[in-house]
């Protein structure tokens, strides 16, 4: 039997054509289709409008299921997605289009849920998208994270084997996140460190911006491949710039106007939060351009410095309120004391040797006379 296309699927779910086209427009915008170099390379730019292109794709492509695996996580990314500024959009993508297995959101539980997953994996082998939330825990024979009595690495490997694409959403899945923070008792890793046989697309963030996750999934649905990625396997469209690059407080940074504390005049006037520890200049994410809650705000706009939550090892990258430039991992003061003392000791020793040197020279001088 011929598989249902996404459009057919949506129609069955009661989505009108008008709604569908609006949805396609939103998705096209989100995906950055207009600016995406691969699209240009395909020659699609010269053709119909982007939303038409998305619509065509959705009309012609078969529905692809998504299997959403949760490992060591807080379900924060799921939370974020379920409370996205465009609930219709996200619902459309995740509920209506594809989501076959999502422990937090699905109605089924326990063996039923596992059955559903198994079924989907078998049925759509080599076609489904695997989304991972939370970090795999390798330590102690996987005992730190098990589902239905099975170790998380085994589950992950199993799900990855038949996946057409693997997307790691949230910092935990992408780079290990909070579980990986020092001293990392569970030996947590990023998914891409565990699964090396296939490319893993990373959507880091704590949580990941829901629009970025959905946008990327749709990109795969529409284009049939993962978007262009940077060296950290992040989609260029969303991670091509730093928070700092598009920050609305950037003019204050350039003018050297900073808030020195959270309730001084500078903070009230909306000055740059660099001195309060903002990691914007080294953090790649779309917060400052896409923003959260329907473009309402993002942390820096809400008077809080960027924590670099989408960067690797962000939990160990220095204090959240410590300057971006401040050195990390200060050793004990004793280390400085020991260094100074050792320097002094060697200096004293050499000075002693030199004094003997001097005496000898004096002696020699006398002998010569």
């Amino acid at each position: 039997m011929a598989e249902k296309t996404i459009y057919q699927h949506l129609k069955e779910e009661g989505v009108s054509r008008r709604e569908f086209m609006k949805f396609c427009g939103l998705l096209a915008g989100l995906m950055g289709v207009e600016f995406s170099p691969p699209v240009k390379a395909l020659g699609a730019v010269a053709g119909p409008s982007p939303e038409k292109m998305v619509a065509d794709a959705l009309k012609s492509k078969p529905r692809v299921p998504i299997i959403w695996l949760e490992l060591q996580d807080c379900a924060g990314c799921t939370e974020a997605i379920s409370r996205s500024w465009s609930p219709s959009l996200v619902k459309l993508v995740l509920n209506k289009i594809a989501l076959d297995y999502q422990e937090t959101l699905m109605a089924a539980a326990g063996f039923q849920a596992e059955e559903a997953k198994k079924e989907a994996m078998e049925k759509y082998k080599g076609k489904y998208v695997l989304v991972v939330e939370g970090s795999p825990a390798i330590g102690e024979d996987q005992v730190f994270c098990t589902i239905g009595g099975r170790g998380n690495i085994d589950l992950l490997n199993e799900a990855a084997e038949g996946a057409a694409a693997i997307i790691a959403t949230g910092n935990c899945a992408a780079f290990g996140g909070i579980p990986k923070a020092n001293p990392n008792p569970t030996n947590a890793r990023g998914v891409w460190e565990v699964i090396t046989s296939k490319p893993v697309l990373n959507i880091p963030g704590c949580p990941a911006i829901p629009e970025v996750t959905t946008g990327t999934i749709v990109y795969f649905l529409v284009m049939g491949k993962l978007p262009e990625m940077d060296s950290l396997n992040r989609p260029m469209t969303f991670y091509g710039h730093t928070i700092h690059d598009h920050c609305l407080r950037r003019p204050f940074y350039d003018a050297g106007k900073y808030a020195d504390s959270f309730d001084d005049d500078g903070a009230r006037a909306g000055h740059c939060l660099y001195k309060l520890g903002c990691k914007g200049p080294t953090t790649y994410n779309a917060c400052s351009s896409l923003k959260w809650y329907q473009g309402l705000s993002f942390p820096v706009q809400s008077n809080h410095p960027c924590l670099a939550c989408s960067q690797p090892n962000f939990w160990d990258g220095g204090g959240f309120y410590q300057g971006q430039s401040a050195p990390l991992n200060r050793p004990d003061l004793a280390a400085f004391g020991i260094a100074a003392g050792a320097g002094a000791a060697v200096g004293v020793a050499l000075a002693g040797a030199n004094s003997i040197n001097k005496k000898r020279a004096e002696h020699e001088s006398k002998k010569e006379k």
């Binding site: 060296s231 950290l232 730093t242 700092h244 940074y253 350039d254 003018a255 050297g256 106007k257 900073y258 020195d260 660099y274 001195k275 200049p281 080294t282 960067q311 690797p312 090892n313 160990d316 990258g317 220095g318 410590q322 300057g323 971006q324 430039s325 401040a326 050195p327 990390l328 991992n329 200060r330 050793p331 280390a335 400085f336 260094a339 100074a340 003392g341 050792a342 320097g343 002094a344 060697v346 200096g347 004293v348 050499l350 000075a351 002693g352 030199n354 004094s355 001097k358």
Partner: protein, 225 residues
């Protein structure tokens, strides 16, 4: 992952290792020099040694680096003096009053202070870079400097220049991605910290010896130093 990991290393363990080495080296230099023995000056003073020291510091720190014509034989080499003075002004302005650097001090010392607006710091850096280039050219062409310059002096110049240029590139967001520029800047800084005790850049400490001796010698004789 490369730049990020590297940066964390350079900002963290490497920076502190360099700092620890710097401390070790400077204490070493200090003790090596101080403990070589000092002869007591038995000559009765005519003027005040302390007075001479005070005057010489006021003059040499506040006036002379910026007004070369105070010394009337300078006509031939004003460049070295102006560029040298301006370079140090730029250096101190940047490392004490640039916001990112103040934050470094703050994280080490535990307290901070007001800083200069970024554009001023950028200008200071530009001036510092220009004066360094001027000093380099001077070192290449001036007959005395050609005679006395040794390999270490070229190292000195390079190792001082690198933090300036990488810092400027980083703060102006030129050419490199921020983390790469940051990493390069940290490499330069760590290198500088290690190089200082091994080289004549340690004059920042020994200057106080020679300047004090100078002031005391002239003060003793009641001559304006």
């Amino acid at each position: 992952m490369a730049w990020d990991e590297l940066l964390r290393f350079l900002r963290g363990p490497m920076f502190y290792a360099a700092l620890v080495f710097f401390l070790f080296g400077m204490f070493f230099r200090l003790f090596r020099v101080v403990l070589l023995g000092w002869q007591r000056d038995r000559v009765p003073s005519k003027g005040s040694k302390i007075g001479g020291v005070v005057i010489t510091y006021l003059k040499s720190i506040l006036i002379l680096p910026f007004i070369p014509w105070v010394k009337l034989t300078f006509n031939k080499n004003a460049l070295t003096y102006v560029a040298g003075g301006v370079f140090h002004l730029s250096l101190f302005g940047i490392i004490f009053f640039g916001a990112p650097h103040m934050l470094v001090w703050k994280s080490i010392l535990g307290f901070g202070w007001p800083t200069l607006p970024a554009p001023y710091v950028d200008w200071l850096a530009a001036i510092g870079i220009i004066s360094l280039v001027a000093l380099l050219i001077n070192r290449l062409v001036h007959p005395v400097l050609k005679k006395i310059t040794r390999t270490a002096d070229w190292f000195n110049w390079t190792i001082v220049f690198l933090p300036f240029i990488t810092g400027y590139v980083m703060s102006r967001h030129l050419w490199f991605e921020y983390q790469a520029a940051f990493s390069l800047h940290m490499i330069a800084v760590d290198l500088l910290l290690i190089w200082i005790p091994l080289s004549r850049i340690s004059h920042f400490m020994l200057y106080f010896f020679s300047r004090t001796i100078h002031g005391a010698q002239f003060g003793k004789r009641a001559v304006t130093p």
